[in-house]
């Protein structure tokens, strides 16, 4: 980050210049999260011995999975220095479309998964066109589609609720449903998705280009990286993962309605998970594993608040907000980067 702001600007080798320090820094953040989680588990177990039961721990993981999928998608966008504020209604639309198809027409799980992914991709293309083609600032574009997609969700449901999801779906939301003993199937799905995204980001040309685009778009462009296409694909992938998350939501809750996604603050949760996992809002820095750990961290914190310490759930949004701020404040590079940016802008303005 520091490099990109100061020295690397005209240099056309973003991948090499950022890779090594980035990985070490992020490894540190991931280690930090794991240590913090162990501390939380320790304190919670002291306060309430049953906290360390397999049931509670399994639940912490499976309760995190919806957010895991959304934040994996969000990670692509944030790495490319964007943000998608419409993931909650994308999740919701996917959940109601797949939900009604499964409930009323017996759509099977695998086809449902494909349908959810397609719905998510189509809505992601909407965001991608606005940000990548029309060059709208991501906040404005996705704030607009947040409202559009949320409105469509109302239209699709017509006030009706999906509540008869076939057991073929809901069996996967159950903690005791396992293939590998002790590991819920839905957690395996989350781990597999994390591994896949991690591989794409680390080992494919596209993945490296996402980092380069977010780290310094101008340098990436001069280096011949198709910045617009990379940005476009990042939003499409974000939609895809939010769409899959909608199906995961169905397996977890067996229901969906006109406010699914929005009402449980999936926008906030996904961004929080990515930020806690070390993904920078300024782009170019972050990992899939971080986002996975971030979402589990959120779930663990909320479970600890509710189970071990009896904090009423009205405090949850405030708690998540504090965690976001802590995550950003605890990231010295994010702060320094921001301060430098401001300073540079000021210098430029005064020079004019």
């Amino acid at each position: 980050m520091t490099m990109s702001v100061t020295a690397s600007r005209p240099v056309a080798r973003p991948t090499q210049s950022t890779r090594r320090p980035m990985t070490t820094a992020l490894a540190r953040r991931e280690v930090q999260i794991v240590i913090a989680m162990l501390l939380i588990v320790g304190v919670s177990t002291l306060a309430y011995p049953d906290f360390l039961s397999s049931r509670v721990i399994a639940n912490v993981f499976i309760a995190a999975m919806v957010t895991t999928f959304v934040s994996l998608g969000q990670t692509f966008v944030m790495l490319a220095r964007g943000i998608d504020l419409s993931v909650a209604p994308i999740l919701g639309l996917s959940a109601v479309v797949v939900g009604f198809a499964a409930q009323d027409h017996g759509l099977g799980l695998w086809r449902g998964l494909v349908l959810g992914a397609v719905v998510g991709m189509v809505l992601g293309v909407g965001n991608a066109v606005l940000v990548s083609w029309f060059k709208l600032p991501p906040i404005i574009a996705t704030l607009g589609t947040f409202s559009v997609y949320g409105g469509l969700q109302f239209v699709v449901t017509g006030g009706q609720q999906v509540d008869q999801i076939p057991g073929q779906y809901t069996q996967y939301g159950i903690a005791t449903h396992t293939i590998v003993p002790g590991v819920p199937v839905i957690l395996l799905a989350g781990l597999a998705a994390t591994a896949l995204v991690s591989w794409v980001l680390r080992s494919t040309v596209f993945g490296r280009n996402v980092y380069a685009t977010g780290d310094d778009g101008e340098a990436a462009f001069r280096a011949g990286i198709p910045v617009r296409r990379i940005t476009f694909l990042a939003y499409v992938l974000c939609g895809l993962f939010a769409g899959i998350a909608g199906v995961v939501y169905l397996t977890r809750t067996g229901s969906a309605d006109s406010l699914t996604g929005t009402q449980t603050n999936e926008n906030l949760n996904a961004i929080a998970a990515a930020l806690i996992g070390g993904t920078a809002l300024t782009g170019g820095r972050g990992t899939a594993v971080g986002s996975f750990l971030g979402s589990v961290f959120l779930s663990l914190t909320l479970s600890a608040m509710g189970i071990a310490f009896g904090v009423p759930n009205e405090w949850q949004p405030a708690g998540i907000g504090v965690l976001i701020l802590l995550a950003v404040v605890a990231d010295p590079r994010a702060r320094r980067g921001h301060a430098l940016t401001t300073l540079r802008m000021r210098l430029r303005r005064s020079a004019r």
Binding site: L85, T260, G321
Partner: protein
Amino acid sequence: MSHHLNRAGVLAVAMAALGLAAAGCSSGSAASTTTSSSASGASAASASSTADSPACDASATGGGVKIASGKPITVAIVPKLLGLPVFEANVKGAKQVASSLNVTVDYTASVKASGADQAQVIQGLVNSNNPPDVIAYSANDPTSIVPALQAAKAKGIKVIGFDSDVTASARSYFIQDTSYEAMGKALIDAVVAKNGKTGSVAILSSTKDATVQNAWIDAMKSYMSSTYPDLKLAGIAYGQSNQATSQSQATNLINSHPDLKALIPIDGAAVPGALAAVKSQGLVGKLSVFGIGDPNPNRQYFADGSLTGLFLWDEVKQGQLIAYVARGAADGTMPAAVGTFVAGDIGTCTVGNSPAANTIIFSKPLEFTKENYLKYDF
């Protein structure tokens, strides 16, 4: 591209995300689209002070004024929002008896559960060229629609309420779903019948300010302390009328009270949420669930045995009563409180002054079981 993003900066993005989340949160709790029982009616405040009037009873003899047909009238039924199965069932019931009462039923509402939107719908009815003779509402909140109802009254339109009330002075009659005490007693009796007189139970409600739910909670608490002192209330959690939130709250209740014997979800979203939690934790058969809600969203849980008891009332018959009371109100044949009237097959109903003025208690709690849930479609 990078330039204006730099300017927007970290904080702006974070704040936008937070603001968006907050907006989602508040609009969410306003539109609690669950059952008619997820109400915030106004009538419950004085519930425990005096005994409620008896509910309508088909077997009661004696009777009172018999509501009969008359000149043709139109009744506009305006529930909290469109599309909710319980309200559809109300309308279906009203239409079943409409022709015998010479009543035309007009069903209209806003698409969102919002007091302001509902006020607009009612004002639109009042101002229309062809206003209805009677407006029957189920209010989203106790105050928002009061001015519109008063405008209706001033124009000679009779106003009656059902399910969720407003200030009593703004309407002629209110049909309360069921007696709060009777509902609290029915739930606790069901828990005791299944699990015995000892142990601990937990309640999952909608929101902290939901008047009807709070009246049920008070009724359960006082019945437990007076009749089953060894039955302990381990905790109360709030699912915000959202199934996913209800599920995570129920999971927390279960995990923070390992000795819990029964979970009592008392709102339309809380019941399937609690059941999903019990199922997800692998506790079907070990933890009983007794709730207040409509049977349709819970069919799978009746079938697999995780739902041990569910209470509500017959929404279709309640719709029939709406038509009868509308007819009586339009013709001025309704008795003054305290008095009785006969509403067809529903039987003898009482107009009483408890919990609020001119209140008709529709029904005793109706229990849905594995055996009978298929008979009801709401």
